[in-house]
């Protein structure tokens, strides 16, 4: 927590210097936060043009540097700029698409209102009528403890791939919440989501990523079993 606070106040100091025209401060901000903007652009589905979108966002930052009021953290403000720039770019590319369909508030399009997406596949639960209805059909297996650096790296790669395959609203929310550590309130502001939608998207995203890690281990365990038999 202390580090995050210190980082946020460093950001504010850099931002003040940027306003005064300090090039080194601009460079420092870009070095600090460009990877976040690229990750967010990728999460929006701009895989091929993510770097470009981040650059456009920085140019927009220069254009409206005086409009930053310090009501949010610099990081949150930067994410908001990226989203606006990406949205404007998407509008330009899709001029034939009716304007209204590009709105951010169509929760059907962002998948939060779809209720048929359980956190865990229903086949994992006892579905027969009785005292154990809805309880695990088989015990949830233990995961290996990520004690070695190699195993942690392996698991992180699985997580990264799982996130990359999420639909983009879920991906954006998990990237901002769990990778960038933004607050729920900030994420709602940046992505123009209601708190409820934000939570549903985050829950679906986390549940799928957990399932991907579980799947990875169940393969590894059954392969090891095959090897040893």
């Amino acid at each position: 927590m202390g580090t995050a606070d210190a980082d946020a106040s460093d950001d504010l100091a850099l931002f003040a210097r940027l306003r005064d025209g300090d090039e080194a401060a601009f460079e420092a901000l870009v070095r600090r936060h460009n990877s976040m903007l690229v990750r967010l652009a990728r999460a929006r589905g701009l895989d091929a043009t993510a770097e470009e979108a981040a650059q456009d966002a920085w140019i927009e930052v220069l254009r409206c540097v005086d409009r930053f009021e310090g009501r949010s953290a610099v990081r949150t403000w930067l994410c908001g700029i990226l989203v606006n720039v990406a949205r404007a770019g998407a509008r330009k590319e899709a001029r034939s698409v009716p304007f209204s369909s590009l709105g951010a508030d169509d929760s059907d399009a962002n998948g939060a209102s779809d209720t048929h997406e359980p956190a865990v596949d229903s086949s994992r639960f006892d579905l027969q009528d009785g005292p154990w209805t809805g309880h695990w059909a088989k015990p949830v297996p233990d995961w290996p403890t990520p004690e070695s650096a190699a195993l942690t790296t392996e698991m992180t790669v699985v997580v990264q791939r799982a996130i990359a395959s999420l639909p983009s609203p879920q991906r954006e929310v998990i990237v901002l919440r769990d990778v960038e550590d933004l607050s729920a309130e900030d994420v709602c502001g940046v992505l123009e989501l209601s708190d409820g939608n934000q939570r549903v998207l985050l829950h679906r995203a986390r549940s799928k990523v957990r399932a991907a890690v579980e799947h990875h281990f169940s393969d590894a365990i059954s392969n090891a079993g095959k090897r040893s038999s």
């Binding site: 025209g21 090039e23 990877s35 359980p118 639960f125 695990w136 992180t156 986390r206 549940s207």
Partner: protein, 87 residues
């Protein structure tokens, strides 16, 4: 009934994990959730795995590689803006 803890199904519990972890759960529901956990090793493991997953996701921020030099395009934009004076 709630003293049994298992009036909450495992299938329901897994849908409440994010609410539980983000602290937005009302106290009574939280008690029911925790009561279930006391009785159910599978759900305890499940919750632990969600925590591990969140921790692993957070690691993606620690870029192992140092950031590349700032693109010349951006520095040009900066210098142009400075020459033109702040609008």
């Amino acid at each position: 009934m709630s003293t049994q803890g298992l009036d909450l199904q495992c299938r329901e519990l897994v849908e409440l994990v994010t609410d539980y972890l983000t602290g937005v759960m009302p106290a009574s529901e939280r008690a029911r959730f925790e009561q279930h956990l006391l009785q159910c090793g599978s759900c305890r493991r499940y919750l632990g795995q969600m925590r591990t997953t969140i921790g692993l996701t957070g690691r993606l921020r620690d870029d192992a590689v140092p950031p590349p030099p700032v693109a010349a395009k951006l520095l040009d934009a900066f210098r142009r803006r400075k020459q033109g004076g702040a609008k």
